[in-house]
Every structure is written in structure tokens, then in C-alpha cells.
């Protein structure tokens, strides 16, 4: 993979990571968006779409409420698409992509916590100026924090792409066909389980569950008719 392509992926992953919490939350951080664009950068949209769908199911397991800690699936999807593309096709790269993506998502979650701690320290240091209503200190704190989050997002993407590179180097082509199938089954099975369990948690046991059941039945019919 050329350096240009890697840099484009890094830039895209950074934008995606920044969108998750800081600016502007327009949902380019959703795997369903991050994946296909990463695929387009690599000239392989279908693989981006497939991994985007896979990680979107993992994303359904998350409710980003208040101070909750959660994994970051946007840059993770970018890294996953990079691995899967290098494997040559979806069948060969889906499981490996999921493995790299999930590890990257975990790293992303840890960095989100770290950045919140760093922001809290910066705010604590500026308490006197903030209590005096100093507009310039307020703006500087805010802009610096956004810059810090951009650096964090770039770091997470770089870690993901680094992991992708190591995986390509040492695991690509070495797994036996049965091992590849096992990894693919695990990736898709876990994604479906996470998406379904996350939705069930959201829906609850009340009237929403009846709507969910009606939806599943309709979906089965639609899928069967196609």
C-alpha cells in the first residue's frame, strides 16, 4: 500500500474520530459511513461496505450517554478495511479485519477516557480565569481540547493502521482455509449477537418488543423473498 493511500486513510480516520464526540457529530463516525469511504480510498468499496455493516452491528451495542465509556468503532473500521483489502477479498480478510478493528476500537475507548482526564486537568488549572468569566481563556481551553482530540483520533487511526500492517505482514496468507473460515464465522457471529443484544436492551420488554418482533418477522419475509 502506498504512502499516499496510508496518509489518506490516516486523515479520514482522524476526521472520523473527531466526529465521534467533538466536532460536528454528523455521524461520519458511524462504521457504516467510515467503512465505505475507507474502501473508496483503497479503490475497493464492496469490502468497505461489508466491514461497515459488520461494525455497524457492533455499534448498535452502544448508547453514548453522558460519561459512559465505550469503544470507538470509526477509526477501527478504517483499519479493518485496510487489512481486509490487503487480504485480496472479503472471504480472506473479514475475520482478520474484525480482529484488528476490535483491538483498535478498544484502544480508541481507552484514549477517550484519557483525553477526558487531560481536559479535566486543563479546566481545573484554569478555574480562576473561568470563574472570572474570561472569554479568551474559555475559547483557548476549548480550541486546545479540540486539537487534543484530533491528535487522539490520529493516534488511534495510526495504531489501527500499524496493527493492520503487522497483521498483513505476519498473518496474511499464513492461516489455513479452515482457520480463515473460523475467524469469519466468529466475526459475523459476534457482530450479529452484539447488534441483536444491543437492540433488545434498547427495546426492553414493553410494547417496543412487540414492534421489534413484528420487524424481525417482516425482515425474515423480505430476506426470504429476495
Amino acid at each position: 500500500m502506498s504512502l499516499d493511500t496510508q496518509l489518506f486513510l490516516l486523515a479520514w480516520g482522524t476526521l472520523v474520530g473527531l466526529d465521534l464526540v467533538s466536532v460536528p457529530q454528523m455521524m461520519i463516525a458511524r462504521p457504516l459511513v467510515a467503512g465505505p469511504i475507507a474502501g473508496a480510498i483503497l479503490g475497493d468499496v464492496p469490502i468497505g461496505l461489508e466491514l461497515g455493516v459488520l461494525f455497524e452491528l457492533f455499534q448498535l451495542d452502544i448508547l453514548p450517554m453522558g460519561a459512559t465509556r465505550y469503544p470507538e468503532y470509526g477509526p477501527a473500521t478504517v483499519a479493518a478495511v485496510s487489512v481486509a483489502h490487503a487480504a485480496g477479498n472479503v472471504a480472506a480478510g473479514l475475520g482478520l479485519g474484525a480482529l484488528v478493528g476490535l483491538i483498535t476500537a478498544m484502544v480508541g475507548g481507552l484514549t477517550l477516557h484519557a483525553i477526558r482526564v487531560l481536559n479535566a486537568r486543563a479546566v481545573h488549572r484554569a478555574t480562576a480565569a473561568l470563574e472570572a468569566g474570561d472569554a479568551s481563556v474559555l475559547a483557548r481551553l476549548h480550541v486546545t481540547a479540540i486539537g487534543r482530540d484530533a491528535a487522539r483520533a490520529a493516534f488511534v487511526t495510526a495504531v489501527g493502521l500499524g496493527l493492520a500492517s503487522v497483521t498483513r505482514e505476519y498473518l496474511g496468507g499464513t492461516l489455513p482455509p479452515r482457520g480463515v473460515t473460523f475467524l469469519n464465522v466468529a466475526a459475523v457471529g459476534a457482530a450479529l449477537a452484539a447488534g441483536t443484544a444491543g437492540t433488545l436492551r434498547l427495546v426492553g420488554r414493553g410494547p417496543g418488543f412487540r414492534w421489534f418482533a413484528a420487524g424481525v418477522i417482516s425482515g425474515v419475509v423480505v430476506a426470504w423473498l429476495r
Binding site: L57, N184, G215
Partner: protein, 255 residues
Amino acid sequence: MAAVSPTTRSRPPLGRCLLRLFTVQGSWNYERMQGVGMGVAEEPLLRDLRGANGGTTYHAALARGAHFFNAHPYLCGLAVGATARAEHDGVPGEQVERLRAALCGPLGSLGDRLVWAGWLPITSGLALIGVAFGLGFPAILGFVIVYNVGHVALRWWALRAGWAYGARVAMALREPVLQRATALSGPAMAFVVGVALPVVVRYLSGGFVGWSRGLLAVAAAGGVALLWWQRARLTGLRFGLALLAVAALAGGLWR
């Protein structure tokens, strides 16, 4: 406290305030949560106060604006508009603080139900169906556009309503459209994601044949049961990593 009537400014800089609201979580932290971002967003609406009391009113209002706040990011504008208007109306500082504190819970809960558990999974579910049906990029583009039409409209409504109602902002939350949207979003989300899941199963399982398809069904069904049973401790991420580790081990041993 000297009051500056809102009528002294015929056109409050709501547009600039809205732009800043897109960054409201940029400095999210465990001490003030969205507080700093709220202060930054509110600042353009407070500039009219700079002339009052030699700037004391402005600085005091700005300091209050940057205090602790936590709500749904898309609805922060309601609190920004309401508190800025209250400051202009000369409402005492302690009352403005109480207003902010009182808005955290309702705005958080409303936004979570309306957006995180409603509009977002609905539009994402529709996009998943679109991709599974082979629409590709147009489905993704449709998701980004449709989702953000709702997103920006909600932010704009919140800011305008907050500025219009001021300290009586609770009335804005009782608007019938909002009540109806909240009531409908839950069932609509449940139905759309319900449709999406089997369609996506078919899309993702297309490459599996024979025994691997059976194994996939067992992994997915077992995973749902395990995640539901251990929902307080087990997350989708941990389950995914554990299953991939087992799969890698099995694949290595059983060549």
C-alpha cells in the same frame, strides 16, 4: 443586576451560536462535562451585556455559562438560548444556575430517547437495509443527508426555542410535536432495526456454506443469549474479541 432587554438587539447572533454548538462537546471532561463548550456557545449571545455594569454582568454570565452541564449535545442549544435570554432579562444569577441544573436531566433523557434510541438507529437501520439490498453508496449518502436534516433541525429548533422562552423554557419541552416524536421514535426504531437484522444476516452470511453456516447460527444465537444473560458485565466488544481468540486457536489447532 441591570437588565438589558432583548429588544435592544433585534437580531441575536443565533447563527454564530449554532455553529459553536456543533463543537459543544469539544472540551468534554469529567469536571464540568459540557460546561466549557456551553460557555463558548453562549458567549455570542452575551456580548450585548458587555456594556452593562462595566462588563461585570457579562463576565458573571459567562462564568455561569461555563459551569458544569451535561445533557444531550443536540439539545444543549435549548439551555444556551434559555440561560442567555434569562441573563438578558435580568434574572438573578442563582436562578439562572438553578435553571441550568434543572435542564440537565430532562434534556439528557429527551435527547437520548429521541436521537440515540430513536432517530439514529432508525436511519442507520434503513441504511443497513439499503446496503443489504445492493444500493451501496447511495444508501450511505442517504443516511448522512437524512440523519443530518433531522440533526440540524433539532439543534436549530432547540436554540430558537430556548431564546424565545427564556426562563419559561419548560413550556418548549411540552410542545405537542416533540411529545409525539418521542412517543413514536421508540416503536419505529424497534420495527426498523427488527427488519434490518434478518436482512443483514442474509447479506453477511452469503459467503458461508455447509457446516460454517450452522456454526454461524450457533455463534450468533449463543452470543445473543450470553450477552443478554451477562448484560451487566459482558459487552459486544469483549464477546467479539473472545470469540475471535477462540476461533484463531481452533483454526490453528485443527488444520
